[in-house]
């Protein structure tokens, strides 16, 4: 299938917001768990020190989705730092609409992220996958990704909500 991968623009945030909700449903989350609006994505992705960058996959008019969308996939990523290895990136989301899967679009998006990282001298790309998502795990393994939770025992830890606020509140006063 003919498709193009390009940098996401402010105008693409509406499509990305739509697909973020679709990804949430796929990840077995309620839509009420998606708090970001397309306006927030526009603000946070295009401010002076953007919190993220994103790429979209676009198909020509004749291949648009059943509902008429031409932007059919995206990946959202940001730059990070490993104190062992240096500059790195984190791929937060990778998503292709169901009717466009199996055509190399996901692979194309992920490769483009790696290519962008290489230009910025990044030496590592990290992301996460749900343990039940077998097709994704197989896809990533085929690309040479290592599961460092299984291999080394790395666990993701999170503070949010009241616990995050309480932690911030307990910081020493300047």
């Amino acid at each position: 299938m003919d498709f193009k991968i390009r940098a996401g623009t402010k105008d693409d945030c509406k499509d990305m917001s739509r697909m973020i909700k679709e990804l949430a449903v796929f990840e077995k989350k309620g839509l009420d768990e998606v708090k970001t609006s397309h306006e927030e994505l526009e603000k946070d992705g295009f401010c002076q020190n953007p919190f993220f960058e994103f790429l979209v996959a676009e198909v020509p008019e004749e291949h648009k989705s059943k509902e008429g969308f031409r932007v059919v996939g995206y990946t959202l990523y940001y730059y990070t730092f490993s104190t062992w290895k240096g500059r790195a990136m984190y791929m937060e989301d990778l998503y292709v609409m169901e009717e466009f899967r199996g055509k190399g679009i996901g692979g194309g998006l992920m490769s483009k992220v790696a290519e962008m990282g290489k230009k910025n001298l990044c030496v590592r790309l990290q992301f996460s996958v749900s343990d039940w998502n077998t097709p994704a795990r197989e896809f990533y393994a085929a690309k040479g990704a290592q599961d460092i939770t299984e291999k080394d025992g790395w666990h993701f830890i999170r503070f949010e909500g009241q616990e995050f606020d309480d932690l911030a509140e307990s910081a020493p006063k300047d």
């Binding site: 919190f51 290895k85 590592r124 040479g144 939770t149 666990h155 999170r158 503070f159 910081a171 020493p172």
Partner: protein, 170 residues
């Protein structure tokens, strides 16, 4: 114990480089460390930095027995993003020199990262821990966080070296 926490400046990179090697020794990965003091200076203090740092300092009279260091702990963090929740902060490193542990410095550093994140509009603090690092895991869980890997089944994935080179082929 009397200590202060402040934003790292470029002059602190020498001490941060020293302490990150100590942390690497603790995690038994010293031969994996490629980052130099120069890398920290360039990547932490450029126009669009890859990370930010805070350091914990003690007064002169409490400096370390060996080599007389007053910078005795640090945290490195950067801003990240959740497409569901928005702005977030990721704590890459948290370290306190062994002779200064058990005095609330680690907790103070972590709280400061959360405070800075909150001030920047973040609503999550994320990090990773090795699940066999029992004292760290216990410390973190006692502070009110939760283990996403245990709870939600999220696995950390990594591409580097040849696999990353291959992936980056246009």
């Amino acid at each position: 114990m009397d200590f202060s926490i402040r934003a790292a400046n470029v002059e602190d990179c020498k001490d941060i480089a020293r302490m990150l090697m100590e942390l690497a020794e603790y995690e038994k990965v010293t031969d994996h460390v490629k980052v130099t003091q120069r890398d920290l200076e360039q990547d932490g203090f450029s126009k669009n930095p890859f990370f930010h740092g805070i350091v914990a300092e003690v007064p002169e009279q409490l400096k370390t027995k060996e080599a007389g260091h007053t910078k005795i702990g640090y945290a490195l963090y950067f801003y990240s993003y959740s497409s569901w929740s928005g702005r977030a902060v990721y704590m890459e490193d948290l370290y306190v020199m062994p002779e200064f542990r058990g005095k609330g410095i680690g907790k103070a550093l972590m709280s400061k990262v959360a405070q800075l994140g909150l001030a920047a509009g973040c609503n999550q603090l994320n990090f990773t821990v090795l699940n066999h690092n029992k004292s760290s895991v216990d410390f973190y869980l006692s502070q009110g966080c939760y283990d996403l890997t245990d709870k939600m089944g999220y696995h950390c994935m990594r591409c580097e070296g040849e696999a990353l080179e291959h992936l980056a082929q246009p």
